[in-house]
Symmetry: D2
Subunit: 373 residues, 4 copies
């Protein structure tokens, strides 16, 4: 079987998750090619060596440029902080190598567009890790909408709320550094935007609102010195989709008590869908025209009739976990790398998502509606 | 015991509900005065006579002016279509009589303001039927926020969605007549606005979006002739509260499957509250600072420790119904009429709510943020 | 319209609830006869007079025998402690008067049977207040089962659990007095038994288990003197229904955190029903044969297409409360008193329920299966 | 690092799951030894070779005896149909090799006891795959109970219900073959028994009920020939735990609509726990003594403060899946194999579980309470 040498840059939360997914995919799926954990790059040789051992990579390097140039690396996988996405991706694309990059693609749409152009010039596979799109129940939502089961889309309400920034005494972190791009609207907002586009379609215009809730934070845990925060802790938008549907988007990392409220409701002319990722193995479906006195939302539990579920567990109700979703993402990537269906979201789609992120911020700052051509 | 002669104008859904509430209040509460179902007015003598018999009123009339003038009528209770609210209320106020009026108070803020002025000149009790504010669990939400249990309010997400206009072949009704005011933003939106103001406070600025989903409807059930619809089927707004909190509001009567989704989440700096009126005897509460590994939203079931519950049932978990909430409203009104605590929302507060309704529509039409001074 | 003079004995939780229901029924329903709150009896003249005033009765007496004999009393309504049910009911029946009695009918099946015999000899209407059978969603469950929508009944799991006896320092009360009959198996267990019989049918045999969790309690709040408890705090049974279905029953008043967990699941050969009275306006329904990948339990919210709902509120999702259910019970009673459908559960059915209660206790004490002929 | 050569017998649902778990454990955890997928045995060489390739094993064989004897196999892992568990395990133990066996251990307690004796004579590690005990939220339940957070255990209600045998036209399968042991009481009942023993403790006596709902089934899909079913489709028991708590157990594979209702409620003198595996990343916790008007069950979402969660995902609310639980099981096994904490449930504990299964069936057949010494 063909092998795909994986070169991973970064070994944090997402680096571990990618490594795990490549390993798991080989066991779960009947893959057309075998991913090999070939080379891991991190900030220096020591860190890289240790991470490579822990994550099961054959070799390691403290220099991502070497990784990009390594002949055994067939796929460059980027899980670094956001600011490094562009240089690494551009180098990989220049070397004609496919790129798998964590979201958000870039700090802003301009830089994302440079990456799209490079990718399309290189003509290789690109993939961006908006993993929740690979949740079988999100795929089911897309399928229900696309098939017309709930009629035409009337409206969409989307939220991604968590609470890891709730405590105002929590220290300043790289997520808050305005050089890396926007705040929660990019970090979590991009997920719900990716779902909105996947399930409903492109957004034509919007008006946004952003808010920095905690204006300054300790420079380190417990430090008395403070650093000013410029990025948003909450963000919202009213949107008009290109297909005529309306809706709202919301992102927050200070929503006390919400741990993974990536939730959306799609209202159609003939029914509705609701899904919340705190219970991501469930989808609520309502259709009009039910018998009198028997109308209700149906709670569908994920099972082997839903996309890719069966390969994990053959029995319904047994549930997939977060890492399984990432494994499905890797499976789709390997398909694309071996001539199968195009991977989405690719760089172009990720740029489209980033344009919405930027538009929310621009709109909020300028206090006006903005069009997205 | 002092008696309060009730003169009811209108005998539809809300008329019946008021009659029931006056009757029930006398049994449930130890009232300071006894409401007497004195006189009912409707569109003509026959309809009024029949309704009076059904609802237990002593007398009836086809002329609301006679009701206003009747010496046995101490309280004028208005449950007519919206366009009649103003003339009847002004007549009652001119006669120096207290007024209990269904929501929304008027088709627009200008007319509402005339009613406020008349009321304040008359110096009598006024009451507007935003009944959900009387739900003990909404009162609990207000109490939790006001006491600081969840810290300072960071944001508010409020929705009132139902689905009674989902079917595009459903006929044109008075709710759709633009002469009566706006569409769902007034009919349901005013409820969620009333809660936002009650729990969080006044709104300082907003940007709105409205949408007519079904552009024309049969003039009657099954008719081939159509009438154009000008009012909104869905409405949304992003808001800034005067106290610095941000948030969103949404109203829809085409949300397939939602029967009474009057739901809101209040996020504070130290916790959150969630409540949905499809389960209005429950409030979810999260507070920060819980023990590690034991953090979670708590589901509080309505019980005798919550406002007015005990007078209905002495045992927790036994649930109040929609009519019980209206009965609490009547109890508060009778208190106010006998020198007790001021009734809220009165005409002035209802005008405040109407101003937000109007601002959403204005903002949506003009595609810009609007300030509410 | 015909009047029905109501004579109420007792004015506690259930006395209040009955008075409220008679009053409310007149407003909610188009009744064939008008209930009149004629006479209230309680332990002495003073208590009775005060209660009569509070609950809106015309007259009062400290002697229930006078109430039974009073010519204006057409219906004797018994809400006293259980031990008084029999003497009052027998006196009323001897006087040829219909009887409305709270559950459980008697401390044991033997005494219940005496009451049945007297009732059937008198040939008058009898009614026992197993109010949850009047919940429109319980009626819907019965209707779904009876119609075969979920096939043949395979099994039933029924629970009535609350937590008002959880605290072991809570004092001894009349509910714990073994002279009044059994413990929770009678107090709450009779409710779930009434539902099992209503929805599935009679029980043919069972094996029971009872447990006194707190063996002695203070004689009064805070008292150091203790009194031994002989009745059950928890009870369970495995049952065989006459129609071949199997199942289990459970009752507890020490189920910490459960406030009104009167819950049951009916499994049929072609579907299932679930209902929990902590959310009694909802019924979950599953049917086999749904489309692949779209199978799920449907959550049906109570609405105007369900029995009697419309007369309270014309809109779905607006919810009924505990008192509304009691009002439906009174409506059914007035129907029966005026020649309408037979009221169920009558004394005979209540005796059937009591026989199951007794059988659980007997079986538990003798540690063996018992047959119910 | 030390290596552990895994010899897997069987490659069905559980075989795949084990292979996946060994592979995943190496990536997720920092293991003290490296599992190597050494040898796979199945019914014949061809099947084994194909499965080995699919699951990533180095070698394969059509003869499990060769696997047991293979010097590179350090651990014999049994995922065959139940009837083969004993011969393979005894052979492995005779060879002094540790055994990892799927549940239920044996068709009956007698055979299980033979296996226990052989294991204890061999003195090697044994492990039985009652995987749900490894769910971090089940571990949390055990921890909460053991720590006294909810006081003394008063009662336990446990259910394992699914619906894969609901359709009476579904064919006869090996699960229905009485030679393999009992029906659902063994297949699913053993899971809820394992939890009851883990969380509450041993069962001292019980009375059981079993029922064959579908008495005969097609010998193959669509066949007109039928085969009689002797094993149970539903089973229930009332139980007394050795520590004085009471409770009930239930198992069904014909519970229409229930896909993974492995649910239990533990009631303590000072609180309660509820968990349902259709949402196995959640645990509901109630404790007495909460502030007035603020009492409620708290919904705790699985997160990094719960056992082993952090190694999968560092963020709360992101959820584990069924395969992750199996991965935790493998991790515990590797710990035990390298001198770490004893693995539970071992053969002895599995025998204890099997004795409860047998007791339910014996009790049901003989219609009497049985003691478990």
């Amino acid at each position: 079987m063909k092998k795909i040498g994986v070169g991973l840059v970064g070994s944090g939360f997402m680096g571990r998750s990618h490594a795990h997914a490549f390993r798991a995919a080989a066991g779960v799926f009947d893959l057309p090619a075998a991913p090999v954990l070939e080379l891991l790059a991190d900030v220096n040789d020591e860190v890289a060596a240790k991470a490579a051992k822990g994550l099961g990579f054959a070799r390691s390097t403290g220099d991502w440029k070497k990784l990009v140039a390594d002949p055994a690396v067939d796929l460059v996988d980027i899980t670094t902080p956001n600011t490094l996405h562009k240089p690494i991706a551009l180098a990989a694309l220049a070397a004609g190598k496919p790129v798998y990059c964590e979201k958000p693609l870039a700090p802003n749409a301009g830089e994302a567009k440079e990456m799209v152009d490079a990718a399309e010039k290189a003509g290789v596979v690109t993939a961006v890790g908006f993993n929740y799109l690979k949740n079988p129940m999100v795929a089911l939502a897309q399928e229900i909408v696309a098939s017309g089961e709930i009629g035409d889309v009337v409206s969409f309400r989307g939220i991604h709320a968590e609470d890891y920034m709730t405590d105002p005494s929590g220290p300043f972190t790289w997520r808050l550094d305005e050089k890396g791009g926007h705040g929660v609207v990019a970090d979590l907002g991009s997920h719900i935007i990716s779902i909105a586009r996947y399930v409903v379609g492109p957004i034509a215009s919007l008006v946004g609102q952003i808010k920095t809730v905690t204006g300054e934070r300790p420079v380190a845990p417990g430090a008395s010195e403070k650093r000013k925060v410029f990025v948003d802790d909450e963000a919202r938008a009213l949107v008009n989709f290109a297909n005529g549907a309306t809706g709202s988007l919301e992102a927050s990392w200070v929503k006390a008590g919400r741990k993974m409220q990536l939730a959306f409701e799609v209202t159609g002319s003939k029914g509705s869908i609701f899904l919340d990722h705190e219970r991501f193995n469930e989808l609520d479906l309502y259709v009009t025209g039910q018998a009198k006195g028997r109308e209700g939302f149906k709670k569908i539990l994920a099972g082997p009739d839903h996309r890719h579920f069966r390969e994990f567990v053959p029995a319904p109700g047994h549930q997939l976990g977060f890492n399984d979703i990432k494994t499905i993402e890797v499976r789709a990537l390997i398909d694309a790398l071996t001539g199968g269906a195009k991977f989405l979201p690719d760089f172009r789609e990720a740029w489209g998502i980033q344009r919405v992120v930027d538009a929310i911020v621009d709109s909020a700052r300028e206090k006006r509606w903005v069009e997205l051509k």
